[in-house]
Symmetry: C2
Subunit: 350 residues, 2 copies
Amino acid sequence: MFKIVSIPGDGIGPEVVASAIRVINTLARQHGLEITIEEHLFGGASYDVHGEMLTQETLEACRKCDAVLLGAVGGPKWENLPHEKKPEAALLGIRKELGLFANFRPAKVYDALVNASSLKPEILAGTDFMVIRELTGGIYFGEPRGYDDTRGWNTMVYEHYEVERIARLAFDAAMKRKKQLVSIDKANVLESSQFWRNIVHEVHKDFPEVELIDMYVDNAAMQIVRDPKQFDVIVTKNLFGDILSDISGMITGSLGMLPSASIGSSHALYEPIHGSAPDIAGQNKANPIATIASAAMMFEHSFCMKNVADEIYSAIEKTLASGFRTADIANPEDTIVSTTEMTDAIVANL
Amino acid sequence: MFKIVSIPGDGIGPEVVASAIRVINTLARQHGLEITIEEHLFGGASYDVHGEMLTQETLEACRKCDAVLLGAVGGPKWENLPHEKKPEAALLGIRKELGLFANFRPAKVYDALVNASSLKPEILAGTDFMVIRELTGGIYFGEPRGYDDTRGWNTMVYEHYEVERIARLAFDAAMKRKKQLVSIDKANVLESSQFWRNIVHEVHKDFPEVELIDMYVDNAAMQIVRDPKQFDVIVTKNLFGDILSDISGMITGSLGMLPSASIGSSHALYEPIHGSAPDIAGQNKANPIATIASAAMMFEHSFCMKNVADEIYSAIEKTLASGFRTADIANPEDTIVSTTEMTDAIVANL
Ligand SMILES: CC(C)[C@H](C(=O)O)[C@@H](O)C(=O)O
Ligand SMILES: CC(C)[C@H](C(=O)O)[C@@H](O)C(=O)O
């Protein structure tokens, strides 16, 4: 018996979460699983009701469930709020409060979409790696921080345990894949990066089978664009991960298709990496695949059912292979389907 | 009368600097300019003689000249020195000591090489933008910094005058181009970025003709890969600039061809963005074009002779168009020329 908290959020969030829930319910029925889904407010949707993006009530619900499914947050309506009231603050808040210290973002190219990227197909084909980003430390949360009239400051700081636990998790992930881990830092300039590097090498002793490669962040950004096939698992700090996971997503050519998992020692949150796309909200145009794939990551990581996750991925591949395209991934000659038509097709392929 | 200090440095540095000097001397003769060039030690080459990568003597010489031409520094021989003795430290030292607060890196695609990139030619063709990176502030130089057994820390800090002067310079550059400036930060998370953004907007009031666009660094990294033609001038902080200027270089497909200028209020240094490439050092194989193009930037920025700079760029284009290729930019069917053959051809085309 599993309990999911869904927080649809803003913009296209409610539509894509509804699609993922249809997939989850279908699989629950097929596999005889008892899955309950409880919806809560988050982001602008919460602010409009409670004057807060993230309420204690939503937070408590997230703490008590097995997994959180998030749509998207934010939109022009809430853009001019003070910093600490903004959607971004709520997002960082939920990560910190739930202790979601590891963000997993697969960069995998769907065969059917290999031509959608700005990269040449021969560079891209076969790309399949995982970016693991530290998510609750580093300069995102470091103190002191602030600005006045004369200066602005932030602190990039990592504690030993923070680096150690994400490194362990990354080596674990590498063991389940091709046993290659690229740790990305800027140790030639930053002491906090040298510290990161030292600990990653300490932890490496417990995983002698994994090949560990250190790479500077500037070079890594280039290498992802130059030859993405060289990577299997990447691990990096919060700020570098923000940048590198977005590049990794972009090169796959299907940013609207990429899921993510944010994982801690007792909680987990799944969400598409795309934003709330206010311009197409409520129009049944959004691509639900990223959120459906996020549900697949939920089955794998939170429910330990890799077989069910694989069923979702196959249904997505099959649906794409038979030509279904939402507007964001359509070529001029394609027929464009709606959010619900895409979801119908995926459900039918399950 | 101009005085250049050349610091060839390590690896392929001496070869590519020699090529650029031939170009400079040829142009001096053609235009009746009196240019003296004085060579000094830097990097490993200096360390092996003096036990220091950057001596006071070299620094003094750089302070007294009109422009510095740098080849490249570093190599495996000096990789295991303590942090403060490494080539990287010398590079940061010379930037700081000469007050070179602005790093200019053009990302321009040579027509003859539009197929060399990992990006599709139709995405790339026509790309021509300038990345301006703040070079003497931010987390590269911020205090406190360090690490011990339990934690590692760095400080990202900007003073008002540091942001203001780089913003002014960037708006100036935009005025000379298409009057579009993209300022890249992470103001949704970092106070030091919000500070940066506020000041850029203040300075914007003095340049009302320039269109100013704010972009988050994660989005910017994607946009450069997705649609590089949207950019004209980019300005960003030291750390983000390190990453973004490398991506910008990579997408042009000719990293071995890209020059840079590091400019302060009274000094300037020109160097290719590629490294010292120890594996091919001394073999007359290196591509001299990045260093020759750096000399072009020197004519433009330090000597205010844009016409001479343009002569260099035309000679490079002509040479490439007639099929000359060093190994790094050759296709399988091309005949490969040496460093000196490439230089001969460019000199002949001047
Ligand atoms: C919205 C923003 C705070 C967030 C981040 O920087 O972490 C986003 O870019 C992400 O990657 O999830
Ligand atoms: C070598 C290193 C210190 C340097 C930097 O990070 O600035 C390099 O990457 C560069 O971009 O010039």
